[in-house]
C-alpha cells in the first residue's frame, strides 16, 4: 500500500511533480505511465525518501520511508540504471544490503537462485549485461521479501526473454497479494501486465483508473473504407451524416461508437449507392495512440485554456473518479466500448491487451 497525497516536487522554476494524489493498492500490478520526463522517477525517488518533496506527503503502509526501521522488509525497489557498485560481486552486493536490514545471509543465495544469477554470484556486475543487471536489481528488491515492490522501468533495454521473465514475475508477485508499482513509458508493456493504471504527464495526474476501463474508453474504433470513386464515396457518406476523415492510400476513416455494426451499415449504404469498395474493415487504434493522445492533450489544453476554449476538451484533473475515466464523452471523439471489433492486424503496440495469453509475451 503506497499513498501519495498532494505530492509535489519543484526544481527551481520547473514543477517536476505537481500535486499527485493516488493510492497504489495491494494484489494488483499498478502501472505508472508517462512519457519520458513526466516525473515518474522523481515520484519514485520521493517515495523512497531519496528526494524530499517540496510539498505533500507519501507513505508506505502508513509510514514515511525514513521511519521504516527495516525498509527492505516493507518495500523492495528496482532503481533506474543499475544503482550498484560495479566492482563488488553480486553476492557481496546483496550481502551488504541484507546485513544492513538484519536479513539472514542465506536469503542472499535464495534470491540469487530466484532471479537465476547463482552462477555469476561471485562475478562483478561491471561485466553484467543489461538483463543481468536488472535481475540483480530485482534480487535486491526481493531480498527482504517485502509487501510492496516498486520497479522503475524494469523492461528498458531488455531482450524479449528478459521482458517476458519480468512480466511473469510481476504478475506472480501481485498474485501473492503484494503491492506492485511499476513505471514505464510504454503503454504496450503496461497493457500486458498492469491491472490498474496511473498516468501522469508533465508531473500531473492524468488518469487513475483500471486498465480495462482505460482500454474501453480509449480504444478508438473506426471503419476504414476504400473505393476507386473516392470523391463520390465521400459525398455519399457526408449526405448520410457520417464524418469521414481522409486516411492512408486514399481510404476514408469513419469514427464509430457502435459495436461492429457500423461496418455492416456502411457496406449496405455503399451497395445501395452502387459504390465499388476495395476495402471495408473495422479498425481499432492502439493503446499507445490513446496514451499519446491523453498526454498530448494536457499540453494542448494549456495552449487552449488561454483562448477560453477549455470547455471543448475537459481535461481530467487529479483524482478522476473511476466511473468517468480520463477521457469522458466529448473528450475524445468516437470513444466508447467496441468489443465486437477485434483487433485488426497491425493495429499497433497495444493490440495484444486482451489476449488470453496475457503475460506470456510476444
Amino acid at each position: 500500500m503506497i499513498e501519495l497525497r498532494g505530492l509535489t516536487k519543484r526544481y527551481g522554476e520547473k514543477l517536476a511533480v505537481d500535486d499527485l494524489t493516488f493510492t497504489v493498492r495491494p494484489g494488483v500490478v499498478t502501472g505508472f505511465l508517462g512519457p519520458n520526463g513526466a516525473g515518474k522517477s522523481t515520484t519514485m525517488r520521493m517515495l523512497l525518501g531519496l528526494d524530499s518533496p517540496t510539498a505533500g506527503d507519501v507513505r508506505i503502509d502508513g509510514k514515511h520511508y525514513d521511519h521504516l526501521q527495516e525498509p527492505l522488509n516493507h518495500i523492495g525497489a528496482l532503481l533506474e540504471a543499475k544503482s550498484v557498485h560495479g566492482g563488488r560481486s553480486a553476492y557481496n552486493h546483496l550481502l551488504c544490503l541484507a546485513q544492513s536490514n538484519g536479513i539472514p545471509d542465506r536469503r542472499v543465495d535464495e534470491v540469487l537462485e530466484m532471479v537465476g544469477l547463482s552462477a555469476v554470484a561471485r562475478k562483478r556486475p561491471k561485466g553484467f549485461s543489461l538483463g543481468m543487471g536488472q535481475r540483480l536489481g530485482i534480487a535486491g528488491a526481493l531480498l527482504g521479501d517485502p509487501q510492496v515492490l516498486m520497479f522503475d522501468e524494469p523492461v528498458n533495454g531488455l531482450d524479449p526473454e528478459g521482458i517476458h521473465w519480468i512480466r511473469t514475475l510481476m504478475l506472480h508477485l501481485a498474485r501473492e497479494g503484494r503491492t506492485i508499482f511499476v513505471s514505464s513509458h510504454l503503454m504496450s508493456e503496461m497493457a500486458l501486465t498492469a491491472e490498474h493504471l496511473v498516468v501522469i504527464g508533465q508531473g500531473k495526474l492524468m488518469a487513475d483508473t483500471s486498465m480495462a476501463q482505460f482500454i474501453r474508453e480509449n480504444s478508438r474504433t473506426y471503419v476504414r473504407v476504400r473505393s476507386p470513386e473516392a470523391e463520390r464515396m465521400r459525398e455519399v457518406f457526408l449526405a448520410e451524416g457520417y464524418q469521414p476523415v481522409q486516411g492512408e492510400d486514399g481510404a476514408l476513416e469513419i469514427e464509430t461508437v457502435e459495436n461492429g455494426q457500423a461496418a455492416a451499415r456502411i457496406g449496405e449504404l455503399a451497395a445501395r449507392e452502387g459504390l465499388v469498395l476495395h476495402e471495408l474493415s473495422t479498425q481499432r487504434a492502439s493503446l499507445e495512440e490513446a496514451f499519446m493522445r491523453l498526454t498530448a492533450e494536457t499540453v494542448e489544453y494549456h495552449a487552449h485554456a488561454e483562448n477560453g476554449a477549455a470547455p471543448a476538451s475537459p481535461v481530467p484533473g487529479a483524482n478522476v473518479p473511476p466511473g468517468e475515466g480520463p477521457a469522458g464523452p466529448g473528450h475524445t471523439p468516437g470513444v466508447g466500448p467496441a468489443p465486437g471489433a477485434g483487433p485488426a492486424p497491425g493495429t499497433g503496440w497495444g493490440e495484444g491487451w486482451d489476449d488470453p495469453q496475457k503475460g506470456k509475451g510476444r
Binding site: 500500500m1 499513498e3 494484489g27 563488488r88 546485513q99 537465476g116 521479501d145 497479494g177 473518479p321
Partner: protein, 338 residues
Amino acid sequence: MSTQQQYQGQVPPQQPGRPSQPQQTGHAQQQAQPQQAQQVPQQQAQQHGWSGQGGGATYTSPIPPRRTHLGNAIVSEWTKIRSVRSTVWTIAIMFALVVGIGLLSALAMSGGQYTGNPLLSSGLFGLMLGQICVITLGVLVITSEYGTGMIRTTLTACPQRGRVLMAKSLVFFVLAFVTTTVACTITALINSALLSDQEIPSYVRNSSLADSVEGGRIVADSGEWLGATVGAGLYVALLGLLSLAVGALLRHSAGAITTMMGVVLLPLLLAMFMRAEALETVRDKLMEYSPLNGLGALFGTPMLPEDSASGWPLLGGLAGVTAVALVVACTLLNKRDV
C-alpha cells in the same frame, strides 16, 4: 474472501528452463494464509473512491522483521569496504610505500654516520607518500557510491542517513588506523634494528642529542615510539576520515581527492614562496599548521627548526577539524536529494 482463493489457486505460467519458478510457487502457497491485514487498506481504498477491483489481500513475509541499529550498518559497511578492489589496492600500496621506503632508507643510512635526527624519524618519508593512499581510500569509500549510483541503493536499504555516514566513518577509521599503525610499527622496528648502531660523531656527546644515546647505541624514548607508531597511525587515519567527510560534501572522487591533496600540500608549498619579511608571521603559521608539519612533529622532525611541539596538539586540532567536517557532511547528507 473469494479473492484470496483466486490468489492461492493461480500458478504463474510455466517457463521452460527457469528452475527458480517452482520454488517461488511453493513460496506463494505457503504464504497465502496471513491476510487479515487487508481489512484496513481496503476500507481506505473505498473511502477514496477506488473500485477495489483485483482484491485487497496483502502479502506477509515469513521473514520476521527485526529492528535495525547501528550494528547492522557497521556489518554492512564492513562487507562493502572489504569487497572492492580499491580498498585492497590502496592499503597494499600504502603498506609497500611505508615499509618499503622505510626499509630502503634505513639500509642506505645503516653503517653511516648518525645525522642527529631522531632514530625513528625516517619513517616519515614513506608515510608522507603512504598517506595519499589513505586519503584516496577515505574519499572513495563515499564517492564511489555517488559515482556508481550505489548511494541510492544504500539509502533505500538504510534511510537513516546519519547512521550510514557514522558506520562508514567508524569502519574506515578503524581499518585505516590499524593498517597504518601496523605499517608504521614495522618501519619503526626496521629503523631501530638497522640504525641504532650507527657511528656516533663526537660532537653529539656534548649536545642536546646526548639524550638519545645510551651505552653507545642510538635509542628512541617511549614518547618517540608512541609518536612514530600509534600517533602517526591516528594522524593519517584522521586525515583519511577528513577525506571521507570532504568526499561526502563534494560527492565527486576527483574533486575530493584534489581538495585533500591541496589541504595536505598547499600550506607548505605556499609558505616556501613567502620570503618577504612582512609575510613572516603568515609563513610561520602556514608551516606550523600544515598537516605535514603535524606528521613531522610526531616523528620528532617538525618543519620549523625551533618548534618543539610534539605533534599531539596538532593531532588534536586535526581531530577537531575532522569532527566539524563530519557534522557538516551529515547535515548536508540529510538535507540533500540523492
